[in-house]
Symmetry: C2
Subunit: 222 residues, 2 copies
Amino acid sequence: MPIGLSAAEVERLDAIVSARRKVKRGAALFRSGQRFESLYAIRTGFFKTCMASADGRDHVTGFQMAGEIVGLDGIVNERHTCDAVALEDAEVCVMPFDRVGELSREINALQHHVHRVLSREIVREHSVMLLLGTMRAEERLAAFLLNLVQRLHARGFSRTELVLRMTREEMGSYLGLKLETVSRTFSRFAELGLVEVRQRHLRILDLQALQRIVDNPQSSGH
Amino acid sequence: MPIGLSAAEVERLDAIVSARRKVKRGAALFRSGQRFESLYAIRTGFFKTCMASADGRDHVTGFQMAGEIVGLDGIVNERHTCDAVALEDAEVCVMPFDRVGELSREINALQHHVHRVLSREIVREHSVMLLLGTMRAEERLAAFLLNLVQRLHARGFSRTELVLRMTREEMGSYLGLKLETVSRTFSRFAELGLVEVRQRHLRILDLQALQRIVDNPQSSGH
DNA sequence: CGCGTCATTGATGTGCATCAAGTGGTGTGG
DNA sequence: CCACACCACTTGATGCACATCAATGACGCG
């Protein structure tokens, strides 16, 4: 929570986020339909959020890593509207939302921070809508990988190497593609010398080229 | 703003949203990159929000009507990240965001309302992501029409008749389809006796059937 | 070490995009 | 008031990107 707070304020904040919760890989932090009470700040581990459509198909709406907040969708109707599932063993801070509200009435910077977290999620989803609405398979995957590695880098990890915590199917669901298409696109990137893929280990060899794929509409390689 | 406020509180709220602004059809309420200062509550008229991707294509991210709030995306970086364009002559309430923040620190119900508005937008975008990620053309258009008519109905308009304020191209952009596909899908719906289309006037003849198209994955008519 | 899960790769199919032509409604200026 | 021009829309023909179906291969866990 990188915000400008006094020591005393930080202490008060700590008091309400003292509760921790561990989530095993494959287990849900919360599920759609459950009563909403708290936001969760991820301390360690990696999550996906996914929701089921009317007909039963389900769709991954996002991947979250350490430092990010999940549960924002539950505020509006006091019910969670999606599932949050740990993709590796994880630990979260439980932040009872009414306590957050109380405290943010007193601590100016916290109020602003809460607004920003919500707004940031809206902006993130705009860019996903853009991805799903206008991009081709290669552009989608390139954008996804660049986003992942950038977020990891901001957390002190490598700028070029990462471990994909999700399956090809989960990536595909998030990107609006089938798992075979994801796999084929990885292979094509590898042939072009853009990345090196071994299972879930990924090394990015040409960051600029990936960026160019995202920026250029017609870059399908032919 | 349907929230439980005392008369005195409503008065204080009115004081900060007193400013009005008229927007002519085709004009922008705000544009991407502009400094964010206020949220806008639509009093009359109809808007689209759209953003440009890296390569210059642009994409409609939503349509907003009376009673809805635009500008939420600007909070996080104090910059608007999309354009809001009036599709018919419109009038909005200007709500300076710092004033909203101040007041919501004092008025409990307002704070909660702000949180809910932000969260609702997140949930709405989840369902658009689901639409773009998993649905076929007919399902997308059916879901879109049902959503539109439902929101209009909540505002006292007909449950079965509406005027489309946007072009086929704008619908297509929002739904991740080309304008020709939107047009063809309308024609197919008309053939099947689900709707009656004359220009932008639309009459829904079989609401249930449209709902079934959204609910059923394989309902492509063959 | 063997089984189940996840991933890769190939062959084929299809839904939507693209390209192209034509229609109709609207608004403007003569 | 009508003629013309423009724009939104419709409809048809064709192509392509991705889905689907199917078989095989590689880990990793019990």
